[in-house]
C-alpha cells in the first residue's frame, strides 16, 4: 500500500481513538458535568457518619451543590469530621444545618444542607455547628424493639 494511504488510515485511527477517550470523558464520565471549579470548603462534625464516602454529593433542596472532599477522625473529640467543597455561587447562612441522608432505602449516602436564618454567610474554613448524624439501621431497629417492649409492659 502507498505511504500516503497508510498515513491517512493511521491518522483516522488515532483521531477515532482520541475521540473515543473524549466521548468517555464527557458523555460517560463526569468531567463535563458537576465539576466545581470555584469552590469554598467548610467542615462539619458528626458523631457517626454511617456509610458516607469521600466524593459523596452535598445537596441542598435535592440539588447537588458540592462534594465531600475529605473525611477524617478527630481524635480529641472522638467525632468524625467531613470537609465539604461547596460551589462558590451558592452561599449559606452561618447557622446552616447539615444532616447525613440516604437516597432511597438502600441508596448511597449524601449530606443535605438546610439554610437557617442568620444573615452572616458561611466562609472558607468555617464549621457547620448544627449537624445530624447518619441513621444507623441497627440502632433504629433496636430502639423500635425497645419501645415495643416498653409499650407491652404498660398494657398489662
Amino acid at each position: 500500500m502507498e505511504r500516503t494511504t497508510i498515513d491517512l488510515w493511521v491518522g483516522l485511527f488515532v483521531l477515532l481513538g482520541l475521540g473515543a477517550i473524549l466521548v468517555l470523558a464527557l458523555k460517560v464520565g463526569n468531567l463535563g458535568g458537576v465539576n466545581i471549579a470555584d469552590s469554598y470548603s467548610v467542615t462539619a462534625n458528626f458523631s457517626n457518619i454511617g456509610g458516607l464516602k469521600v466524593r459523596a454529593p452535598v445537596k441542598s433542596a435535592g440539588v447537588v451543590i458540592g462534594r465531600v472532599s475529605e473525611i477524617y477522625f478527630d481524635g480529641e473529640r472522638h467525632e468524625a469530621v467531613a470537609s465539604l467543597k461547596l460551589d462558590k455561587q451558592y452561599s449559606f447562612s452561618k447557622d446552616t444545618s447539615a444532616s447525613i441522608m440516604t437516597s432511597g432505602l438502600l441508596g448511597e449516602q449524601y449530606i443535605a444542607l438546610e439554610t437557617g436564618g442568620d444573615s452572616a454567610q458561611l466562609k472558607e474554613g468555617d464549621k457547620i455547628k448544627i449537624t445530624q448524624s447518619a441513621v444507623v439501621l441497627e440502632s433504629l431497629i433496636g430502639q423500635f424493639i425497645y419501645n415495643k417492649a416498653a409499650d407491652g409492659g404498660e398494657g398489662k
Binding site: 481513538g17 468517555l24 463526569n30
Partner: protein, 265 residues
C-alpha cells in the same frame, strides 16, 4: 544408578533452570528493545507503518465486539436490575463494567489474538528465512529496525483500541437499554455521569490498557524472536503468544484492580 525419585527431582530442577533462563533472556530482550527505541522514534514512518497493521487492521474486530458486548450487557443487566426495580441504574452498570474491566481486558485479549499472533508469526518467519541475520550482515540492528517500531506501535494502539471498545460498548448498551427496551434516556445518562469518575474509572482504565499493551506486544515480539527457525517452531510460538499473553492480561488485571480499586466501597 539413580532411582526414579532422583530422576524426578532432576527433571523438576531442569525445568526450573530452563524457565528461569528463558525469563532472563526475555528480560534482556525487553531492555534491548527499550534501549534501541530512540532510533525508531527518529524514523517515525516505521512506527506509522506498524500502527497501520496492528491498530487500523484491528479496528473492525474491536468495534464490532465492543458493540455486541455492550448490547449483551444491556440485556443481561436489565434482566437482573428490573427485579430490584432499579433499571435506571443500567447505564451505570454498563459504563462501569466496560470502562473499568471489560474494555481494557477484552480489547487486550482480542488484540493478543489479532495483532500479537501476527507479530509473532511475522518475526518468527523473518528469523526462519534468515532475514534478521541478513540485516545483521548489513550492519542494520534488527532490534532497532524491526522489533522496536512494532513494540511502540502496539503500546500506542492498545489504549486507543480499548477506549474505542468501551465507547462502542456504551453505545451498544444505550441501543438495547434505551432504544429497544425503553429505559428512560435521561436517567440512563445522568446516573452514568454521576457514577463514573474521570480520574478513578476512565484514567485507570486507560492505564490498564497501556500496561496490557506493553505486556502483549513484548510477549509477542519475544516469542517471535525466540522461535525455532522452522515451520513448526513458528506455529508453536504463535500459539504460545496467544496463551501466554492472555494469561498475563488476566493476572495483571487482577493485580492492577487490587491496587486501583481497593479501599472503595
Amino acid at each position: 544408578m539413580p532411582s526414579r525419585f532422583v530422576k524426578g527431582v532432576r527433571r523438576i530442577g531442569h525445568r526450573t533452570i530452563n524457565s528461569l533462563l528463558r525469563l532472563g533472556v526475555a528480560s534482556r530482550f525487553f531492555v534491548l528493545v527499550l534501549l534501541h527505541s530512540g532510533s525508531s522514534f527518529r524514523r517515525p514512518h516505521l512506527i506509522i507503518k506498524e500502527l497501520f497493521s496492528t491498530g487500523v487492521l484491528s479496528l473492525i474486530i474491536i468495534l464490532v465486539s465492543g458493540l455486541f458486548v455492550g448490547m449483551v450487557l444491556g440485556m443481561q443487566g436489565y434482566d437482573t436490575l428490573q427485579r430490584y426495580g432499579s433499571e435506571e441504574a443500567l447505564g451505570v452498570m454498563v459504563a462501569l463494567s466496560l470502562v473499568r474491566e471489560l474494555g481494557p481486558v477484552v480489547a487486550a485479549l482480542l488484540f493478543a489474538s489479532r495483532a500479537g499472533s501476527a507479530i509473532t508469526a511475522e518475526i518468527g518467519l523473518m528469523k526462519a528465512t534468515e532475514q534478521l541475520s541478513a540485516m545483521e550482515m548489513m550492519a542494520v540492528n534488527p532490534i532497532a529496525r524491526v522489533v522496536a517500531p512494532r513494540f511502540w506501535a502496539g503500546v500506542l494502539s492498545m489504549p486507543l483500541l480499548a477506549a474505542m471498545f468501551s465507547a462502542m460498548g456504551v453505545f451498544g448498551g444505550y441501543l438495547v437499554g434505551v432504544k429497544l427496551i425503553g429505559v428512560d434516556e435521561g436517567s440512563f445518562w445522568s446516573q452514568m455521569q454521576s457514577a463514573v469518575d474521570f480520574q478513578q474509572d476512565i484514567v485507570n482504565g486507560i492505564i490498564k490498557s497501556f500496561v496490557f499493551g506493553v505486556a502483549v506486544t513484548a510477549i509477542a515480539l519475544f516469542e517471535g524472536y525466540d522461535a525455532p527457525p522452522t515451520a513448526e517452531g513458528v506455529s508453536g510460538a504463535t500459539t504460545r503468544t496467544v496463551v501466554t499473553s492472555s494469561l498475563a492480561i488476566l493476572a495483571l488485571d487482577f493485580v492492577l484492580t487490587a491496587f486501583m480499586f481497593r479501599g472503595e466501597g
